[in-house]
């Protein structure tokens, strides 16, 4: 397992070299997104303006997060950035947004079934957090914009520039592997005797 720094724009070669379990830090522009935000973002008409802006800014990373933000008189300040489970956003919405915006990095929490196959097809990676959420926020060097503030501060989309945000762990890489899937194989072995004893069937 290696440690890699990803500076935007991230090339396809660099992405192909990433393996499930690697540790990465990232620099560049990213945006936060939760469930309602995704609905707006992928809406054919309603999301067009924001999608255009994200493309112009070269934002190629989505962070499934409802950050803790301090509203300032001039500029908002990120206090902490905590991940939201990626399955809460839903695979269909994520895939649509990645397709519309050409995203390369998806940051979230936990495993989302089937996302590893999509990452392989689309050439993007799913990263999960293993960090200090205050330090993540401290890596935000600039809050660029806030879209759809009427959704409330945590659900709105925050577009920010980060420098060295991490560590993040590669869950799904571009080769169809998922770290959580590998871990799950070990879990099934470790838990086998208890599962049998209590007559528990796994999904």
């Amino acid at each position: 397992m290696k440690t890699v720094h990803l500076a935007s724009p991230v090339s396809d070669e660099v992405l192909r070299d990433l393996d499930a379990g690697d540790s990465v830090t990232i620099s560049g522009r990213l945006f936060t997104c939760r469930s309602l935000t995704y609905d707006r973002l992928i809406n054919p008409e309603g999301g067009e303006g924001v999608r255009k802006r994200l493309k112009e800014l070269g934002a190629e990373t989505v962070f499934h997060s409802g950050p803790l933000v301090k509203e300032g008189p001039e500029q908002a300040e990120m206090i902490a950035m905590v991940p939201m489970p990626s399955w809460l956003a839903g695979r269909e919405k994520i895939e649509k947004a990645v397709g519309l915006l050409g995203l390369k990095l998806i940051i979230g929490k936990g495993m989302l079934e089937g996302l590893e196959e999509f990452c392989k097809r689309a050439g993007c990676v799913h990263l999960v957090c293993a960090g200090n959420y205050n330090e993540y926020a401290a890596r935000v060097v600039r809050v660029i914009d806030c879209a759809w503030p009427e959704l409330g501060r945590p659900e709105a989309m925050w577009i920010v520039e980060v420098d060295g945000l991490g560590p993040l762990i590669v869950d799904a890489d571009t080769k169809g592997r998922s770290l959580y899937q590998d871990i799950d194989e070990g879990f099934k072995e470790d838990a086998a005797s208890l599962l049998e004893e209590l007559d528990i069937k796994l999904d």
């Binding site: 950050p67 905590v82 293993a130 200090n132 959420y133 879990f187 838990a191 528990i200």
Partner: protein, 309 residues
């Protein structure tokens, strides 16, 4: 007479201290587990938890961006009923106002939204928010206030309730608790390790209330005074540790802080069981306030103190 201003000042200080720092039992558990955890990813997650708390304490900021739904457990001593300025309604009003003030001042994440329209007033105020629970404490001369910030993880993915057949017995309870824990923690669905609260018996709402209170109001290492229930707590803890789910479901020895179980008699036709998984972001603080203005910090809430038969 206890002034509303004194209550507001005290409650504001409680929110700051419990958002900036973990209770001692949680912090020392995380440190001990970090030192002995052998799973590489597990250790990294525990270190991240500890680092976040250290950073937060040093910079006076919340250690988790999900600063929770604000909840108050109020123990109103019978000797204090006539000693609160403006009475109980005024006290409720103060707690509501403070919740909005700390949301903008600390700041806290405004988490309270309308369930259907998803409207967010950005104040953590709305029907039922903050959540104020009150109990009268006989023969007591204090007002006890416990502040707990309830995170979205335990509420979203960390809670399960069922009614088992009446003869399902201990094995049925173990099966439900273990199965729920697997489904909630496996593949990183919720932030683990967790303090697993179990409600056993009671009615629909008593069962879920017991599970949640067992998870958030009792300290790590505590055991139910009933030795049979304490044995079941140990059994469930052993079961969960055998799963080796680890921090963030990434494998390892640290799968739970502890298991706490509360029991109430149930209807003969039922065997209700509830599970509540409190994450590492435990925010709980307790004080007692007296009519003469004294404020006494308490390590634990007395909310869980059981009736003596």
């Amino acid at each position: 007479m206890l002034s509303q201003q004194a209550v507001a000042r005290t409650v504001t200080a409680l929110w700051k201290s419990n958002q900036y720092d973990l209770p001692e039992d949680f912090k020392s558990f995380l440190q001990e587990q970090h030192d002995k955890e052998t799973s590489e990813f597990g250790k990294a997650h525990l270190k991240a938890n500890l680092d976040a708390v250290a950073t937060a304490s040093a910079r006076n900021m919340p250690f988790c961006a999900d600063t929770g739904l604000l909840t108050y457990y109020i123990g109103l001593g019978t000797g204090m009923i006539h000693e609160i300025e403006g009475g109980y309604r005024a006290l409720e009003r103060t707690l509501r106002e403070v919740s909005a003030e700390v949301t903008s001042d600390i700041p806290l994440r405004p988490n309270a939204v309308h369930p259907l329209t998803r409207h967010n007033p950005n104040t953590n105020q709305g029907p039922g928010c903050p959540d104020i629970k009150m109990r009268v404490v006989p023969d007591a001369d204090y007002l006890e206030i416990t502040n707990v910030a309830v995170g979205g993880g335990p509420e979203l993915v960390g809670s399960k309730f069922t009614v088992l057949p009446p003869t399902a017995g201990e094995k049925g309870v173990r099966k439900f608790v273990v199965e729920s824990t697997i489904n909630l923690v496996r593949l990183g669905a919720t932030c683990s390790p967790n303090l697993v609260g179990v409600g056993l018996g009671g009615t629909f709402e008593t069962c879920t209330r017991m599970a949640k209170e067992a998870a958030i109001l009792r300290p790590v290492g505590d055991r139910n005074p009933d030795s049979e229930l304490a044995r079941l707590e140990d059994q469930l803890m052993d079961d969960i540790l055998r799963l080796k789910l680890g921090p963030m479901g990434m494998g390892g020895a640290t799968s739970a802080f502890d298991v706490h179980l509360e029991m109430a008699y149930c209807h003969m036709a039922t065997l209700p069981v509830a599970v509540y998984l409190q994450c590492a972001a435990m925010r709980r603080t307790t004080v007692r306030m007296y009519a003469d203005g004294r404020v006494e910090s308490r390590p634990l809430s007395s909310w869980m103190e059981r009736e003596t038969p």
